[in-house]
């Protein structure tokens, strides 16, 4: 019994680590990843590989050059790369995928000081960068099961332009529709959501309020239940609400703050979809609320147990 370690309490720790949390997110994304490859074929697999690999390598070389502690082990770069790939359509070139991934990791995350210091979600910002730099990235692609060109338009584009035929609701659920490779299969995304809830990685507040807000507002604006359902299942709402708006770093803590944050995301999404120039508004909505997140957190102060109001001095 020599060499006893003496350090401050507590002396035990839970098994949750950043790495385990990120691993859970990757596992939750697996159904959507598999669906993407099945629905959109070999190109989808290549895109995923390129995005993930360039995300990891960007972080690795950044840390190396900036002489920082190597952090790729926390798996957050894998999550970013995978999410970015799943948010792009097969119309995007592989070199563009690589560029988006590098932008997300280096400019949005590493330059601000790495994981935890970034103010916006890297995958979302990477996608927006590609939207702005190279035009539409979600539309124009069709699944291997419906080769007709007209099926390439996303349901949201069809609703917005008023021309073309909407896929059946069944096809919407299994993901047989145009869109980004990972956003189409609603069932796969919901399986991931349930997994994250069971593992207590996220709480239900943000996804449910976000999706609920979009649904209710669409119903009010369009007065049509079917359209409202397409608004929920079409576009990137599910993947955004489940996997990107729930990002710890860029969403507020506290249940009420989370609800306000998600409500804001929903409102902006609907505004852009119905009145904006883009057919899809989920990414912009999340990015905007990311920026507001610290302020929302400040508005909603949880009163400490036994805390008394500070007397103005």
């Amino acid at each position: 019994m020599e060499n006893l370690i003496v350090s401050s309490s507590p002396h035990i720790h839970s098994r949750a680590t950043t790495r385990n949390i990120m691993r859970d997110v990757v596992i939750a994304l697996l159904p959507a990843t598999v669906a993407a490859i099945v629905l959109f074929g070999f190109k989808a697999a290549l895109m995923i590989a390129v995005c993930v690999a360039s995300a990891i390598l960007s972080e690795f070389f950044f840390s190396l050059i900036a002489k920082k502690k190597q952090t790729i082990g926390d798996l957050s770069a894998v999550v970013t790369g995978l999410l970015l790939a799943l948010n792009l359509s097969t119309k995007v070139e592989l070199w563009q995928c690589m560029l988006g991934s590098m932008f997300a990791i280096i400019i949005v995350k590493c330059v601000f000081g790495g994981l935890g210091k970034n103010f916006a979600n890297p995958a979302i910002t990477g996608r927006i960068f590609l939207v702005i730099a190279f035009g539409a990235v979600a539309g124009g692609a069709h699944t291997v099961f419906t080769p007709e060109i007209s099926a390439g338009a996303t349901p949201l584009e069809i609703i917005k332009s008023g021309s073309g035929t909407l896929p059946s609701l069944f096809n919407m659920l299994i993901g047989n529709r145009g869109g980004a490779i990972g956003e189409t299969c609603a069932i796969a995304l919901i399986i991931g959501f349930v997994y994250l809830l069971c593992r207590k990685v996220i709480s239900w507040h943000i996804p449910v309020v976000f999706v609920g807000t979009v649904f209710v507002l669409s119903l009010i604006v369009k007065q049509d239940l079917t359209i409202a359902l397409y608004e929920v299942l079409g576009g990137g709402l599910l993947i955004g609400a489940i996997f990107m708006a729930t990002d710890y770093v860029t969403s507020p803590m506290g249940r009420l703050a989370k609800v306000i944050f998600a409500f804001g995301c929903g409102v902006i999404t609907v505004l852009i979809r119905f009145w904006g120039s883009y057919p899809e508004g989920v990414s912009f909505a999340i990015l905007f609320m990311n920026i507001l997140s610290p302020y929302i957190e400040k508005i909603h102060i949880i009163k400490p147990l036994g805390g008394i109001k500070n007397v103005k001095k």
């Binding site: 019994m1 006893l4 370690i5 003496v6 350090s7 401050s8 309490s9 507590p10 002396h11 035990i12 720790h13 839970s14 949750a16 680590t17 950043t18 385990n20 949390i21 952090t71 926390d74 000081g113 790495g114 994981l115 935890g116 210091k117 710890y248 770093v249 803590m253 506290g254 249940r255 009420l256 949880i302 009163k303 400490p304 147990l305 036994g306 805390g307 008394i308 500070n310 001095k313």
Partner: protein
């Protein structure tokens, strides 16, 4: 949706492997080292000299002030010498070394005490040497003193025992139910203003709950409340909220909301003192942890070295990383196994090398787990973040606004943090900086 029914939010492992094991007695050790400070307050003043012969229960040190507590000889023998003892918190105090002379004899002062009034009870509490056995070591007499005001309407007996491994209070409730009952009866007799007695026990101790319900079946003023097993259920303010829904404001005491919280074992020991006159000289400790060969509850004289208890208990297995006085959440790590157990020791926890590896510290991912785990609904991440600031005023403003002083150092936040940040340690640092700052401000007359 936003309401909270019970506070205290952390699931930690229980490991209550010793819950079904009654304490076994340690044979009298060859020598004991009795520190003069085993409580909060002033160290006791020795009244024996080296060379004196003492008997079990003989007073060897007198309480030195109102907040202090007398100390009694735990074994028969000769006072060898006065030594310097370094407490785990870094304070140096005097300690008396007593060598056993082979006898087991009670001192003649060990006589039953008659209790007729609250004064008698408080005097008995002072003389019994009992201090808060739950950990902090606040003298019991000082706690009972608030009953004089006649304002206290509820007494809560703390049997939550929420730390992993420890089962000594659990065993008190099962093995010494009569003592617990007598303790409560003493209070009922001498403090008529108290309307209600609540015994709070975490749900994971069904046997203790059953025994206590059985014991107090016929006393309508006593309720046994089964509490959810969430850490830190036994923290005073948490327990008060979860049993009577009263919030103790910042900087106030439980007595300000007319509640008194007493450790259940403390009351049992006081009852025994009144009945037999035997002061607090032995302590039942739980010996457990991942590096303990066979977990046990062991009753040993105060001042026995940790090493002796471990050897009697069957030794350790594997590589020992840390030895703790207390449990793994709030206990303090000792530098050597030669250190003695004291009045406040409820457990000796020995953890393997593997278990005490400090987590790799990475940056905060803002996951909110620490805030969710905090029983006082604080935001521990903000304290740690503020320590990185160079602007002192700004730092103090953040600490002040976010109520750093409410932190009870329960350990929950560090336990859950996936980034492995030493949040509790940072809280302690932040607290002492904040304390120094407010002192300074007061001196300047600014506040």
């Amino acid at each position: 949706m936003f309401g909270i029914r019970y506070i205290g939010n952390t699931h930690i492992p229980h490991f209550k492997r010793t819950a079904s094991l009654a304490s076994i007695d340690l044979p009298t050790p060859k020598s004991v080292l009795v520190p003069m400070l085993q409580h909060i307050g002033a160290p006791a003043a020795p009244i024996v000299q080296p060379g004196d012969t003492v008997e079990i229960g003989q007073k060897i040190a007198e309480a030195a002030g109102y907040v202090s507590s007398p100390i009694y000889a735990p074994i028969c023998g000769t006072v060898d010498k006065f030594e310097e003892y370094l407490r785990p918190d870094g304070r140096k105090v005097q300690a008396i070394r007593i060598n056993w002379n082979g006898e087991v004899k009670f001192h003649h002062s060990v006589q039953p005490k008659d209790i007729y009034s609250l004064d008698d009870l408080i005097t008995a509490a002072r003389e019994s040497g009992v201090v808060g056995l739950g950990g902090a070591g606040f003298p019991l007499a000082v706690k009972l003193d608030v009953l004089r005001k006649n304002a206290i309407d509820t007494v809560i007996l703390n049997g939550a025992e929420c730390e992993p491994y420890i089962t000594s209070d659990t065993r008190t409730m099962i093995d010494r139910a009569d003592d617990v009952r007598q303790g409560v009866e003493l209070l009922i007799r001498t403090a008529p203003a108290v309307k209600k007695y609540i015994i709070g026990i975490e749900k994971n101790k069904p046997e203790a709950i059953k025994t206590m319900r059985e014991t107090f079946k016929d006393l309508s003023c006593v309720t046994v409340k089964a509490l959810p097993q969430r850490y830190p259920q036994g923290a005073e303010k948490v327990l008060i909220y979860n049993t009577v829904r009263r919030v103790v404001p910042e900087g106030k005491l439980p007595s300000d909301v007319n509640v008194l919280v007493l450790n259940i074992t403390s009351m049992a020991v006081l009852a025994k003192y009144c009945r037999t006159g035997m002061p607090l000289v032995r302590k039942s400790v739980t010996l457990d942890g991942s590096a303990v060969a066979s977990p046990k509850n062991i009753k040993a004289p105060i001042g026995t070295s940790i090493k002796e208890i471990i050897e009697f208990g069957g030794g350790t297995t594997g590589e020992v990383g840390k030895i703790l006085l207390g449990g793994p959440m709030m206990g303090s790590a000792v530098a050597s196994a030669d250190e003695p157990i004291t009045k406040t020791t409820g457990a000796i926890t020995i953890l393997s090398k593997e278990d005490v590896q400090l987590p790799n510290e990475t940056s905060c991912i803002h996951c909110g787990r620490c805030a969710e785990a905090c029983p006082h609904l604080l935001k521990p991440l903000l304290y740690s973040n503020s320590l990185e600031l160079t602007d002192k005023e700004e730092k103090m403003k953040i600490l002040d606004k976010n109520k750093i002083m409410l932190c009870v150092e329960c350990g929950s936040c560090s336990f859950v943090c996936p980034a492995g940040r030493p949040l509790v340690l940072n809280n302690k640092i932040a607290k002492s900086e904040y304390r120094a700052y407010t002192e300074e401000m007061k001196k300047k007359g600014g506040m």
